[in-house]
């Protein structure tokens, strides 16, 4: 059935879903760290809104709680933490270059198509109006991974990771009116702790390689040239 058969709220959910997807694209496109954090925050907010709407449509009350949870965590707390870290690390203004941005965008589009293709059989199963959004959420997840693959900045990698989480959460909400409460709480807790630990790591990485460029974290390679380096290190150690 196509969109005309939906109620207004359901259509609104679909709108939001589209916006969430768009936010993922914008995350991919952002080159300045600060703005990507903002985009991430917006994405969180959108997911929260979607959750609330779903809760309203299917009047699942526990979804309101998780909507609040999402809003608090994904839209406010985590972005805030990241923001403070970025300011502390004095990389707020840093601009990182993405290789072949156009290509990345194209790939992202392909990924969306692919996830739609994958999700088709899944969607046939559900009776919910929102089932078409499963493809969206899967592509959000995949785009998050793509972002992590394409970005060299530790912080932006974290952002990508978090947006994957958004995608997961979104999927849970729209496909199955949310997971059991206990699970959601557990997930939220994990995410929170993860953020804190990420924060710790930024500083550790910073003090170990004087930057947050993950490409420079390659002391543990095993290819031949790195082996030579390791040799040298060992020699140094032994003296």
């Amino acid at each position: 059935m196509n969109i005309t058969h939906f109620t207004l709220q359901e259509q609104a959910i679909l709108i939001i879903a589209a916006l969430v997807l768009f936010s993922s694209f914008s995350l991919l496109a952002q080159t300045r760290i600060i703005s990507s954090i903002h985009a991430f925050a917006w994405q969180g907010a959108l997911v929260a809104a979607a959750t609330a709407l779903v809760a309203f449509v299917a009047n699942q009350h526990h979804l309101y709680i998780s909507a609040l949870l999402t809003l608090a965590l994904k839209a406010i707390l985590i972005p805030w933490i990241l923001h403070r870290l970025v300011v502390k690390l004095e990389i707020a203004r840093e601009v990182e270059t993405v290789v072949h941005p156009a290509l990345v965008m194209l790939g992202a589009a392909v990924l969306v198509a692919f996830s739609y293709y994958v999700a088709l059989p899944v969607e046939k199963l559900s009776l919910l109006a929102t089932r078409n959004t499963i493809a969206i959420s899967m592509s959000v997840v995949l785009l998050g991974m793509l972002m992590m693959v394409t970005r060299r900045q530790a912080v932006t990698q974290v952002v990508g990771f978090m947006s994957m989480e958004n995608g997961l959460f979104f999927a849970a909400v729209v496909s199955t009116h949310g997971m059991p409460m206990v699970v959601e709480l557990g997930v939220a807790f994990d995410v929170l702790v993860a953020t804190v630990i990420f924060g710790v790591f930024f500083f550790q990485i910073r003090e170990s390689i004087e930057s947050l460029d993950v490409d420079r974290l390659n002391r543990l390679a095993e290819t031949d040239e790195s082996a030579a380096v390791a040799e040298a290190d060992v020699a140094g150690e032994s003296e």
Binding site: P121, V214, L217, N218, L220, A221, S226
Partner: protein, 672 residues
């Protein structure tokens, strides 16, 4: 009764292992407990073996170990008994020899505990292999045997060559073990169980039985040291302590032979002629190449190790003949070949252990490993010298000693190839026999070289000039083995009568009529075909000797004048004028040029101005061809593959993420 005795043997060996754990703190333990226990274990094994052989019975039992649905099955039939006997005899000799020999290690503060413990384990494992009646126990015991002997090879691990040898040994033992496991697996798949009893009655399709046979030949051949799977043997045997080398060369190789016989003759139901031909050819190649390589060695123990390859080759020639006749439906000749193979196994375990023990004594006294540094030892170590001579005569398969009898039986078996239908076989078999003859002759040359260079002539170094006699136990061990060599050579019928039950119980083959005409005559097929009477030969020799001696000494001037050697009138003899081993084997080196990787160079040493030639330096390295053509390439491939694979670990986290990413996408694409 047989079983109890066998259990006792294993338990005593384990006990000796356990006892010697304390030997580092109390060195006396080794001498006063560990080795005596080992000797008792040997006696128990001999008892069990004799029991099984004489009564020609098969005793079966089941031990409460292993997997719940796969308990350890134990079975001692005459074949197993024979090999228990073989193990036991050598173990007794080693137990006699050990205390005197390891004293040296104790002086040098080697951790003798490990030595004693692993020796015990090694012996126990070999006995268990022979007793095993299910693949699981067999493999456990087999691998335990490899592992224990590996630790013994690595015992003197200070120098890198030994470590390399040990590594190579363990690696190849592992590969061989896996092949054997696989072959059992093939059989078990059709038998539905890993118990040998089930395999015996399983019906295996021809293709699969051929696969099983091939794997067994590969696995056991690797352990037995068949060319070209022999590379580990000349590395590992020499570096172990000599009494261990005796156990490895003398016994462990025979355990591999046992395994091959067990699988091929017993477990695999039907036998193809073609298999026999393969075994025959492989055996001939091993025999010839083994002896040719032995010819060019200067390290005494290394030379002996190569000669082990040769003798294993001879054993496999006999086995191949037996298989051919079996496949061609000639049970009588088949059992004759089997007897020949078993007899040669027994003989080789005797004289090879004898030679290794002798070599150990020599090396202990002279601290020289190369025969080029020995010489004149017969005067310094008269007993060892005489026993070693007996070993040399036996291994050179000369009458009236035991080596000759088994080789003669093998040749007689080969000569019966005329009865075969296929003309091709009638050609192949005599050619193989001729190769065997060539091998025998070359072996004689090898041991003339060894004995002549090491024991005769004049001492070449100070250390071999001051060698002293080894202690009584070591001499007694050699005496025992030498005596057995003579007995088995002069009274072959005794041994053959003992073995007679084996072909019958193994697969209902008729007993060969080799001893049908009384203890005096050995007639493998029929008296009018061939006969040999060792006792009469010995009698004749003694008689002729006596007559000539009396004839000469009955007269005057029995006195003998000692003078400097004439040497065609050249000046006084110096040790450096003697013919060296390398020189002795030079003609063969030239005739069989392409067999070795010979690196021979002669440097001209001139004085500082480079005008006057002050001397020549001759360097000779004999490399094993199998390395350059087989082993090194394999090693290289593995390393190349490893380098390729290492590119995975590029160290870049985004690459890693990409792996995970694309794996996911690929799988999703795959399933939809």
């Amino acid at each position: 009764m047989v079983l109890q005795s066998a259990y006792l043997a294993v338990i005593l060996a384990l006990a000796s292992a356990a006892v010697s754990l304390g030997a580092n703190r109390f060195p006396a333990l080794l001498k006063s407990f560990a080795f005596p226990l080992l000797g008792l274990s040997g006696f128990a094994a001999v008892g069990a073996g004799l029991g099984a052989l004489v009564t020609a019975t098969t005793s079966v039992a089941r031990l409460p170990f292993g997997l719940p649905w796969l308990p350890w099955e134990v079975r001692i039939d005459p074949l197993a008994g024979f090999f228990l006997l073989l193990i036991g005899v050598v173990v007794v000799a080693v137990a006699l020899y050990g205390p005197g020999y390891v004293r040296e290690f104790q002086h040098e503060r080697h951790p003798v505990a490990a030595l004693g413990a692993f020796t015990g384990l090694f012996v126990a494992a070999m006995q268990l292999v022979v007793m095993a009646d299910d693949a699981f126990l067999f493999m456990v015991a087999w691998e335990l045997m490899s592992l224990a002997s590996y630790f013994l090879v690595a015992f003197q691990h200070e120098n890198a060559a030994n470590r390399r040898a040990a590594f190579l040994y363990l690696l190849m033992a592992q590969i061989g073990g896996l092949a054997i496991l696989l072959s059992y697996g093939v059989l078990a798949t059709f038998a539905g169980s890993f118990a040998f009893e089930a395999m015996r009655h399983a019906h295996v399709p021809l293709l699969w039985s051929a696969v099983a046979f091939g794997l067994a030949l590969f696995g056991f051949g690797m352990k037995a040291g068949l060319v070209p799977l022999h590379a580990w043997l000349p590395e590992a045997h020499p570096v172990a302590p000599s009494h261990i080398s005796a156990l490895m060369s003398g016994v462990m190789l025979k355990v591999a032979v046992y395994g091959f016989i067990r699988v091929t003759f017993d477990l695999i139901g039907t036998v193809q002629v073609s298999w026999g031909v393969i075994v025959l050819l492989v055996g001939s190649a091993s025999a010839l190449l083994g002896v040719l390589y032995a010819m060019q060695q200067s390290d005494l123990k290394r030379l002996l190790a190569y000669s082990s390859i040769e003798n294993v080759g001879i054993i496999f020639i006999a086995l191949g003949l037996s298989l051919v006749f079996l496949g061609a439906g000639q049970p009588l000749l088949a059992s004759l070949g089997l007897i020949a193979a078993l007899y040669h196994s027994l003989n080789h375990s005797l004289f090879k252990s004898l030679l290794f023990l002798g070599a150990g004594a020599v090396i202990q006294q002279t601290h020289e490993h190369s025969i080029e540094h020995m010489g004149g030892l017969l005067k310094r170590l008269p007993y060892t010298g005489i026993f070693f001579l007996i070993g040399c005569i036996s291994i050179a398969s000369l009458p009236p000693f035991n080596g000759f009898v088994s080789e003669w039986l093998t040749l007689q078996t080969a000569l019966q190839g005329v009865v075969l239908q296929s003309g091709v076989l009638r050609i192949i078999i005599p050619v193989a026999a001729a190769m065997l003859a060539l091998t025998g002759a070359l072996a004689a040359m090898v041991f003339v070289k060894v004995y002549g260079v090491a024991f005769l002539g004049q001492p070449r170094t100070r250390r071999s000039r001051h060698a002293r006699m080894p202690d009584i136990g070591m001499r007694a061990a050699q005496a025992l083995l030498a005596l057995l060599c003579l007995v088995l050579g002069v009274l072959p019928n005794l041994a053959i009568n003992l073995m007679a039950a084996i072909p019958r119980t193994l697969r209902h083959l008729p007993e060969p009529g080799a001893t049908a005409h009384g203890w005096l005559w050995l007639t493998p097929v029929a008296p009018q075909v061939a006969s040999y009477s060792a006792p009469l030969v010995l009698l004749g020799l003694a008689l002729a000797w006596l007559l000539s001696y009396l004839f000469l000494h009955g007269r005057r001037n029995r006195s003998i004048r000692r003078v400097p050697a004439w040497d065609c009138g050249f000046g006084p003899l110096s040790p450096r004028m003697q013919y060296t081993g390398a020189a002795f084997s030079m003609p063969i080196r030239r005739i069989f040029q392409p067999v070795w990787k010979v690196d021979e160079r002669i440097e001209r040493v001139t004085d500082d101005k480079g005008l006057r030639l002050t001397g020549l330096r001759h360097q000779l390295q004999i490399g094993d061809v199998s390395w350059s053509v087989l082993y090194e390439p394999i090693g290289r491939w593995v390393l190349i593959a490893a380098r390729r694979v290492a590119l995975l670990q590029s160290g870049n986290i985004r690459t890693y993420l990409a792996y995970s990413f694309f794996t996911l996408l690929f799988l999703l694409w795959l399933i939809t």
